[in-house]
């Protein structure tokens, strides 16, 4: 059994390490520092941590201002508030001015669980991806989260990182490297490609193994940077495998699936199937129950692969 770590826990740890290395890093939170894990940074660097209270619009504006005087602000709250409540502040105050703000949002997707649909953002990738110049990163596990958090401090410009509440399997080993805009191939194959991000990557890897036992060789690609997306890897996948399934814990409208399809239809049209939330809000339940309820499991990926291969055969 792989180790299980929530990406938000990896974030909290990485922030402290980053704070030691880079004095320009400051952190803002909106009264959720024990949940987003920025509280770890607050404890270590109280003078560089600002709790902005339950006021996300001001939080994003203040992050913009800190960036404008040379700091590297990491601004955290739940994904629905970061991307929804403060969308226009992110657009106008941060992105329009190309300010160097890192928005790290936790509690994304349906795996928020019991809190229910009000708190389960299934739209955040779509909302952030549509802002010009915004980089959008959805790490798959704790290791990739840690690498991404360190890496984005070296990149100049606005970034949105999407993290989760629940514990997820560690799929990368310590040697994993993270480069913005570059995907990683988790398994190679020529029959079909599964392109996933976030919590769905571990499930995509599992699906790949199940399929291989049945003689279907799937390429599994972890597309942790949704924007700018790794076009080269997508075009190769389309050309070399002829069929694609995308898997994300997000609405099928505007997220990873849409981003992949935008490349495929333009560069190399092949059949694509989308595993994701089907244009609906979330609901209360445990994380595992909800993944099943919304069709975000290994078996749903396998079923989609079978469908897309059928379409590929029909030509």
């Amino acid at each position: 059994m792989p180790e299980m770590i929530a990406t938000r826990d990896a974030y909290g740890k990485a922030l402290v390490a980053l704070g030691e290395q880079e004095p320009k890093v400051v952190v803002l939170d909106g009264d959720l520092s024990s949940s987003t894990k920025t509280g770890m940074f607050a404890k270590r660097f109280p003078d560089r941590f600002f709790n902005m209270g339950i006021a996300e619009q001001n939080l994003m504006g203040a992050a913009a201002g800190l960036s404008a005087v040379g700091k590297i602000p990491y601004a955290s709250t739940f994904a629905i508030f970061a991307s929804g409540r403060a969308w226009e502040q992110v657009r106008q105050s941060i992105a329009y001015a190309e300010l160097n703000v890192k928005i790290v949002a936790t509690h994304s997707g349906v795996t928020v669980g019991e809190d229910g649909g009000s708190h389960q953002s299934v739209e955040d990738i779509s909302l952030m991806r549509s802002i010009p110049g915004m980089t959008v990163i959805v790490p798959a596990d704790a290791v990739e989260t840690e690498r991404a958090i360190m890496e984005i401090a070296r990149y100049r410009g606005p970034v949105f990182v999407r993290l989760g509440r629940m514990k997820v399997p560690v799929v990368f080993d310590d040697g994993c490297e993270f480069t913005i805009g570059r995907s990683s191939t988790m398994a190679d194959g020529t029959d079909v490609s599964i392109i996933s991000a976030g919590v769905m990557t571990a499930k995509a890897v599992e699906a790949g193994k199940e399929l291989s036992a049945r003689g279907i060789h799937a390429r599994v690609i972890n597309m942790s940077t949704i924007k700018p997306i790794d076009e080269v890897a997508i075009v190769q996948a389309a050309r070399q495998t002829g069929a694609i399934v995308t898997a994300e814990e997000h609405s099928i409208i505007g997220g990873l699936g849409s981003a992949v399809a935008e490349v495929v239809v333009r560069r190399c049209p092949v059949p694509v199937e989308f595993v994701g939330v089907q244009d609906t809000f979330g609901t209360s339940g445990t994380s595992e129950e909800l993944l099943e309820y919304f069709g975000l499991t290994t078996s749903h990926i396998v079923a989609s692969v079978e469908r897309v291969i059928e379409r590929k055969k029909r030509g």
């Binding site: 209270g53 619009q57 504006g61 203040a62 913009a64 404008a68 700091k71 226009e88 106008q92 001015a97």
Partner: protein, 291 residues
């Protein structure tokens, strides 16, 4: 109390600055003429709210603020944020006159390819600190700047100019709360209290009074001034600098469209530029006041 007097802390001796103020008045007239010419050539833009804040900007950029047009990135500079971004022509005219960029750029306002966008864009315009235009966001950015400057132990100050209609945005009050909570005495907000917004009088559209009590309730030091009096503005900024442990707001009572009777206190000229005929009349009136 005469116009221009402060709520508190009025320095007694303001008379020796009179000749300096004549110079600033002259400057303000030139800025107003530039604004109207820009708007006329652009054929769109915001006349009333650009004219109402001219004295505030002139006092800040020529008297109050520490800044260097030759080195806009000087770390120890004071910061200015035009939260009421639609008054862009006013700040552009002041920046050009101060030497941040060539004055002939003013005539390219709002044109494709211009460095002078319809609302302030820090990527494009030398001297613009942050991008504004969507109302209610400037004070939050000021909060972030003030926090960052304090970390680095700069004694720089952050000036944020807000419209009175803009105060209807909830984010302003989030930022007001945060400024007091973090004791940001390096922030000075200025409210251009011209009393009008696009759809009518502020008190009719969505009343913001009792305004002084609101800011006081949020923990701010409040100073009410005549927003067209240089000496009154100067005293207010001086008092604001001396107040420690809390931010100051200068509520500057102004006249929308100030300086041109055709535009003064007229809702219509919020977002309407002067026609060629109106421009001629306006410049004549402004020039005649100078004599």
């Amino acid at each position: 109390m005469r116009a221009g007097a402060l709520d508190q802390g009025l320095p007694e001796n303001m008379s020796q600055t009179l000749s300096a103020d004549r110079r600033l008045e002259h400057k303000a007239t030139n800025i107003r003429i530039d604004i109207l010419k820009m708007l006329n050539i652009a054929r769109s833009g915001h006349t009333g709210g650009s004219l109402s804040c001219v004295e505030i900007l002139v006092e800040l950029f020529y008297e109050e603020m520490k800044h260097d047009p030759g080195d806009p990135a000087l770390p120890s500079r004071d910061r200015f944020i035009l939260s009421k971004g639609h008054a862009a022509p006013a700040i552009y005219a002041v920046l050009a006159d101060s030497g941040y960029f060539d004055k002939k750029e003013l005539l390219t306002l709002r044109r494709l390819g211009t460095v002078l966008q319809g609302h302030p864009d820090s990527k494009k315009t030398r001297g613009i600190e942050v991008s504004t235009g969507s109302l209610g966001q400037g004070l939050s950015m000021g909060v972030g700047m003030a926090l960052g400057l304090k970390i680095d132990r700069f004694d720089s100050r952050v000036y944020v100019l807000l419209g009175d209609g803009e105060l209807q945005e909830g984010q302003v009050w989030e930022a007001a709360m945060a400024s007091a909570h973090y004791e940001l005495d390096n922030i000075c907000a200025i409210v251009d209290r011209n009393g009008l917004q696009i759809d009518g009088a502020v008190e009719d559209i969505m009343n913001v009074e009792p305004l002084s009590d609101k800011w006081k309730g949020f923990g701010w030091n409040v100073i009410n001034v005549d927003g067209h009096s240089f000496s009154a503005l100067r005293s207010a900024f001086h008092v604001a600098r001396e107040i420690k442990g809390r931010p100051t707001v200068v509520i500057a009572k102004t006249l929308k469209g100030k300086g041109v009777s055709l535009f003064e206190n007229k809702v219509h000229y919020h977002g309407v530029p002067p026609t060629d005929e109106e421009l001629k009349i306006a410049i004549e009136e402004l020039e005649s006041c100078r004599r």
